[in-house]
Every structure is written in C-alpha cells, then in structure tokens.
C-alpha cells in the first residue's frame, strides 16, 4: 500500500494536534468495526471556527484524516464547515487507498457531531 507524500507529512507532522482550552464543542467518535477513534475540539468566535484540534488513535488514514480535517476547519464559517465533504477530507489527507475510505467517513461523522453540538 503506497501512501502519498502529503499523507506521510500529515502523519509525521500532524497539523492542529492536541486538546483545546475553552472549546465550544468537543466530541469523540469511533469506528466500531476496527476500533479507530477520532476526537475533535472546536472553538468558535463570531460564527467562525477560530481553533480546531484533534486527537486520533488507529490506522494511519485515521490520523491523516484527523490532521487534514482539523487543518482545513480553522477560519471556516460554520456554514462552510457544514459543506465539507468526505471527498474534501480525503483530498486534503493526500488521498486514501480504496479500502481506507472509512477513515474519511469517521472524520466526516466526527465533524457533524461537533457541528450538531454547536447548534444546540
């Protein structure tokens, strides 16, 4: 299985890794089949994502998608964040092998859990 340079870059130098002080939403989702976990924390100011942080456990695609997602969210309005697709996450992660698409799905679900929390 060959991974792209962008993908490996996410893996060795993840963007926005860690926890977030004063987060407005913090969610953790897991893939019940393989046990992968992704935690996402967002701080929102004036309808925009001011800061996004992630933590991830699992196969490299899950780590890369967490990094890609947290990296792209910062600066987005909540509307823009709601329009992020799985394909966007996959692309930002540097591409995923066909069998690893579930990693982007986990990132997508985690994002929507966080957005749901922000709406309530």
């Amino acid at each position: 299985m060959a991974y792209s340079d962008t993908f490996k870059e996410h893996l060795t130098n993840p963007r926005n890794a860690g926890t977030l002080e004063g987060a407005d939403a913090e969610v953790e989702q897991s893939n019940p089949v393989c046990g992968d976990r992704l935690r996402l924390a967002l701080r929102v100011r004036g309808g925009r994502v001011e800061a996004a942080r992630f933590l991830a456990y699992g196969c490299p695609p899950t780590l890369a998608c967490g990094s890609a997602l947290a990296g792209m969210l910062e600066g987005m309005t909540l509307d823009e964040a709601g329009r992020v697709t799985r394909a966007d996450i996959t692309e930002a992660a540097g591409g995923l092998p066909p069998r690893k698409q579930h990693a982007a799905a986990l990132a997508f679900e985690t994002l929507h859990e966080a957005l749901k929390l922000l709406q309530t």
């Binding site: 860690g18 992630f54 490299p60």
Partner: protein
Amino acid sequence: MRRVYLDHSATTPVDPRVVEAMLPFLTAKFGNPSSVHFYGQEARAAVDRARREVAGLVGARPNEVVFTSGGTESNNLAVRGHCEQNAEHGRHVITTAIEHSSVRGICEALERRDWEVTRLPVYGEGVVRVEDVRAALRPETVLVTVMLANNEIGTVQPVAEIAALVRERREAGQKFLRLHTDAVQAASGMRVDVDELGCDLLSMSAHKLYAPKGVGALYVRRGVRLAPQNIGGHQERERRGGTEAVPLVVAFGEAARLTRLELEERAERVRRLRERFEAGVESRVSDIVHNGDRVRRLPGVSNISFRFIEGEGLLINLDMQGVAVSTGSACSSGSLEPSPVIRALGRDDELARGSIRFSLGKDTTEEEIDYVLEVLPRAVDNLRRLSPLYQKAQGPRACTPA
C-alpha cells in the same frame, strides 16, 4: 537517508556468495536437468549438489528433499498432500493457533471439505503444550502440524516432544499418523535436525536464508507418501512435477551450505544485538509489552507492543526515518482483525494492533541498533501525543501525587 533493515523474518538480502554461485546457471549453464546431453547433466549435477547441501542443513538424506517454489508450496504439499493421501484412514488434523497463514488457510480449506481441525492454544508465552497435543489426539487423527518457530514472535515449539507422542501412537498401531513442522523461520536462527526433531515432514524456504525468493524445500521422511500437488513430469521422484528452477535451487544449496557453517556465529551475534536493542527500548520507552516467551525464541526476533498507538502508524514513521520493520496491526495485512498470533497470546486488541516485529539479520550492526534506539522513542512519542487513549491514561497519572 540512512537505512536500517530490521525485517529479516519477512525476507533477507541475498548473500553475494549466493549470487555468485547461481549466476553461471542463468547464463552458460542453462540446461534442463532432465536432458540426457551434456547441458542437462551439468544442470543435474548442480541440482544434486544443492540437494545434498539442503539435506545436510537439516540432517536429512538427499532423496528426502523435494524442491518447491517456497515455504507456502512446501506447506501445501505437506499438509494437503498427506491429508489427501490418507483421507480414508481418518479426517482429523491437529494444528496450532499461531501457524503461518498458509497452514492456517490449508486447514480452513480442509474444514470446508469435511475434515475436522483442532487448533491448540499457545497461552501467554506463545508456546504449545505437549499435554494439549496428547489430549487432542484421536484414533482418526492423521496429521499433527506444528511450526518449529513462529514467524511473528519467534517462539520455538516443543516439536521433538510432540514427535515422541506421535511416534508412540504410530507404534501402537495408528500407522498413518504423521508430524509436519514448518521450519521456514527456524532454519535461520537455530540448528534444525530432522532426526532430533523426529518429524516426518519439514518445510523450508530459501529467502529467509539469504537466497532469492521463489525456492524452498520439503523434507519428506523415507516411507512417507504424499499425493502430489503439482502433477507433471517425473521430477523430484514424482512428488513435484515441473522443471527444476536450477539457478534458484543452486542458490538455495549455497545458502544452506553457508548457513550450516555460519549458523552458530550468526545466532550468537544477533542474540547479543537483540539484547542490546531490547534493553535500550526498555530504558527509553514506557508502556511496552514483550510478546512471546523471552527465552524459548529465535535469537533475532523481538516483538513488542507499544500501548496507546497503532502499529502501522509507527511503521510508517520509522520507515520515513529509514527503519524497516513490520506490524501485526490489521491495517497492514488488509484485514479488519489484528494479528491472530498476538491475539492468541491473550492480548487485547489495542496491544495486538500496537505490535511491532523487529527482526535482526546476520549483517545487522551495533550502530544500526543504536540508530533505531535513537529514532524509535521519538516516533512512539509523536504518535502517543496524538492518541486520545494516551491522553486518557495520562490524566489520572498526572493527578497521582509523586
């Protein structure tokens, strides 16, 4: 970039002396060993010489050695060949929970054809217990197949003791019962002797012994009959049809000769380096678990689970720093389940997913080990800082008064 290869259980680099021995058989000495003319006889002599060397490595007679395309084919010929040959005498096989995927797959295929298979546990140490074999033996058992050394954790199985049981049963009248052992991993790290082991069938692979991929052998004790799996010409005494892969067979012969001569020295060297490696990891990385019995194992294999992280992420991090290892995580194998071998030790999914196999070779150096000890703790730390499992575990620790 500096590169360190610590994946010798997967395959080994080809020894230049082996390359030199095989080269003439890729050029001038191209004959077919079945041909009667000069070219054929030259090739025949080379195959015979190689057969003597491979037999010599395991204490067998040359005519008990069947050349194959590798370990997987040897295992197929042994297990399927024996079972097909003896189906009328019983349809029960005893194996272990930690066999190589080839033996595992063959056993599953047998079950689909109404065979019964008993898979013995290996407990926390990764070693089968002889009393479990005794308890599993039935009048209709025709084969016991137990690997000599495991490919992931390197643990050495009590094959000689199991052979004694099998022999006892055979002498008591169960004359079709045989013992097969997969020695593909073992041959590079320990002395293997078919009479000391008392096995009837023994699988070998050349590319674990510094020869090229594509050639292996099956030892078949005199008097043991197998249903051939490759039907063709009269090669290999009708046990495996097909023109012999002369250059590869010659390479295997030379590799076997060198292994026989250098085995002790190689084993001692890698054992010392592995001790240095494991001591280094223990002093630099927290929350690790060694997999497999620390004593009963091959000298060059170290299998370690790193808590809170997943193996393939660590593998890629190490690879980006030039260090090649392998992992029991599900990601790597393409399946959803992590390594059945690590799971068979009773480890939970997290530990199975976080397992890494470091396998040293005859040319591994102290400097290489020290380089790995420098980059490994950083790579583990990087991934742990990303891990929600690690953060959770750190929470309570941080609160514990010193």
